[in-house]
């Protein structure tokens, strides 16, 4: 069975890392195999669990592994791979002075969310044996770009494929007239476009699947609400549904009215403000024991 994917998203500083850590520990206590992945380039999980993490998952408890995605590693790795393929396929690499152009590409905007997407793809393939994979996401802007990337990319790829088909059919006419038969040589760019469309379709399906759950984290304040409402709207635009809403550092026992009105089809959970700092596996466990009612509403 494929693992369930849980994303923790929200404004910077509302406690995505803390709530995702609490949820991970809670779920792993119920003997389910959990992988907690920090996708925020400014990693926090190492501070919360007071343990060093990296690309290789580290065990925190019996059923809980934690991994930090190293964005720079993925960008570097990806550029290296692309450069290698170019060297293999191009015959005049030096004539274009391509190396210089290529060195500039690594500073292009947009590579960061692509690196996250590559890491995400790798994770869901590598850790198919887990019950739940929990993603502690970066603040709103990067996260929204990450989610919309497959959708935007598909629009581009489909248009490019149409143009490529058009070019290919004209090339076929030329070869038919010139050498009397249709070109049998395969168009590599077209093949690559088709492969990419297949991959991105797959990724988009992942985001839209019922196994993918989005948890929107916010605090009990106006600024946090308005950003949460905007995130909801943006996600609806691309067809992604928010599963539950977590109001973190909450002083009151009641769900704020604005939140209840806006998120009437979502599960809502209140994470009470902790009287002591939530650092280390033990402290998180104590918090869960004290506030067990949080998990009545959500899983």
């Amino acid at each position: 069975m494929k693992p369930e994917l849980q994303f923790f998203i929200g404004k910077g500083g509302v406690g995505k890392s803390t709530t995702s850590a609490i949820a991970s520990v809670h779920l792993s206590r119920n003997s389910r195999d959990i992988l907690l992945v920090s996708m925020d380039p400014a990693h926090n999980q190492r501070d919360i669990f007071q343990q060093d993490f990296g690309e290789k998952p580290q065990r925190v408890a019996n059923h809980l592994l934690v991994k930090e995605v190293d964005v720079d590693y993925w960008i570097e790795n990806y550029l290296k791979e692309t450069e290698k393929t170019i060297k293999q396929t191009y015959s005049y690499e030096s004539a274009f002075n391509l190396q210089n152009y290529f060195n500039v590409l690594q500073f292009s905007p947009g590579l960061e969310e692509y690196a996250l997407l590559l890491a995400f793809e790798n994770i869901i393939h590598t850790f198919e044996d887990k019950n739940i994979i929990i993603f502690d996401m970066a603040p709103t802007a990067l996260t929204l770009r990450f989610f919309s990337l497959p959708f935007i990319t598909l629009i581009w790829l489909e248009e490019l494929l149409k143009l490529r088909d058009h070019i290919f059919s004209k090339k076929e006419i030329i070869s038919k007239i010139k050498i009397g038969r249709r070109q049998i040589e395969q168009d590599k760019v077209k093949a690559k476009l088709e492969l990419l469309i297949h991959n991105y379709d797959h990724l988009r399906d992942h985001f839209l699947s019922d196994e993918t759950k989005i948890n929107l984290v916010m605090n009990n304040d106006k600024l946090s609400f308005s950003e949460a409402f905007r995130i909801k709207k943006k996600l609806i635009d691309i067809g992604i549904h928010i599963e539950s809403v977590l109001v973190n550092k909450s002083n009151s026992k009641a769900v704020p009215d604005e939140v209840r009105d806006e998120f009437n089809s979502q599960k809502i959970a209140l994470f009470p403000l902790s009287s002591k700092s939530l650092l280390g596996y033990k402290a998180i466990n104590e918090y869960i024991d004290e506030n067990n009612e949080i998990f009545l509403e959500i899983k």
Partner: protein, 96 residues
């Protein structure tokens, strides 16, 4: 058959072949030019970043770049003849 007759026949056949090839090339000249233009448009869409035109999401460029040597070449060539696009077109259409 006499060797001389055979030679003449071969010459005529090969002349026809050449004429056929020339005619066929002539027939597709315009459409080849069009394909070149389309290839250029495709290259500009994907590789525009290299000649200063805002490009698609950069990862699309990166993914397709390894397979696009020809288009890359066409694009750079077109950039260098960009000062005289009409001359380029007229020469294909046989306009003096």
């Amino acid at each position: 058959m006499m060797p001389i007759a055979k030679t003449i026949k071969n010459k005529i056949v090969s002349a026809f072949h050449v004429a056929d090839e020339v005619m066929r090339s002539k027939a597709v000249e315009t459409i080849e030019y069009e394909v070149g233009e389309l290839d250029n448009i495709f290259a500009i869409l994907v590789l525009g970043a290299f000649i200063g035109i805002p490009s698609p999401p950069i990862h699309i460029t990166m993914e397709l770049l390894p397979e696009m040597e020809n288009e890359f070449e066409i694009m750079l060539e077109k950039v260098s003849t960009a000062h005289d696009p009409l001359g380029d077109l007229f020469s294909v259409l046989d306009i003096d």
